[in-house]
């Protein structure tokens, strides 16, 4: 069975809740575990927070498009934005073995996404960033 939805939010932190609520509704129709719902919520928070915080140095209002595709037991999320080119995969993984004093927080969001999803990728096409994550459910 194949199902998909597409929606968009503005580049404000408050709008992330719209994305997590929409995703929860989508997943509730698929009989997925609570664990998957939580993991997708975390991924939406991390990816959208990164885009909203770093992609738009012009300070203008922008639209971020989110596509959700469910096919053959896999969920794919595609985030598209017209912001400055930014490849999250280029961020170095944090050193998760460091002591409290030395620990830095940078890169932790993308690192969580990498660990919670099966596959992540990035493309720059037609002036847009496309960030794609996939997970077997």
């Amino acid at each position: 069975m194949k199902r998909n939805i597409k929606f968009s939010i503005k580049n404000h932190i408050d709008e992330i809740d719209i994305a997590t609520d929409t995703m929860e509704q989508f997943l509730s129709g698929l009989d997925t575990s609570l664990k998957h719902q939580v993991n997708f919520n975390i991924v939406l928070d991390e990816v959208l927070n990164n885009i909203i915080s770093y992609a738009f140095p012009d300070g203008e209002e922008h639209i971020i498009e989110i596509s959700v595709n469910h096919e053959n037991g896999h969920i794919e999320l595609i985030f598209a934005d017209d912001g400055t080119p930014f490849d999250p995969l280029g961020i170095e993984d944090p050193d998760t073995e460091q002591s409290i004093e030395d620990r830095k927080i940078g890169g932790l969001g993308v690192y969580l996404v990498k660990n919670l999803m099966d596959d992540i990728s990035y493309e720059r096409r037609d002036g847009k960033n496309y960030f794609i994550v996939k997970k077997k459910i």
Binding site: I42, N49, L108, N115
Partner: protein, 112 residues
């Protein structure tokens, strides 16, 4: 997210309810700052009502433990659900904090 505060002896207890994410983490940060201003540096974070945490929440907790250690205070966490525990494990945060099953264990072992 909803944050409730109450006190048990000298220990300030912060109860977290809902999601600790990009949107709500600034509220928790504000609560910590308000406690430091009152020199409340013995703090137990009860996560019983916490659904999940993202890196924005981890950032606030890391800043809190750094600040509280510097002030010679104590910060402990308790009642984490499996999703919060998993994020702590992935991020390598588990060894950085005093983490307990429940409130009583934290009070007995850290704040005596």
């Amino acid at each position: 997210m909803e944050i409730k505060k109450n006190k048990e002896g000298n220990v300030q207890i912060i109860e977290l309810h809902g999601r600790l994410d990009s949107n709500s983490s600034k509220d928790l940060d504000a609560v910590f700052n308000e406690l430091y201003e009152r020199s409340e540096i013995e703090i137990l974070c009860d996560m019983k009502g916490l659904d999940y945490i993202s890196s924005a929440g981890l950032r606030v907790l890391l800043m809190a433990v750094k600040t509280i250690n510097k002030k010679k205070g104590k910060l402990a966490l308790c009642n984490m659900n499996e999703f919060v525990q998993e994020v702590f494990e992935i991020a390598g945060f588990t060894p950085l904090f005093f983490i307990f099953q429940d409130r009583q264990e934290a009070l007995d072992k850290v704040f005596k």
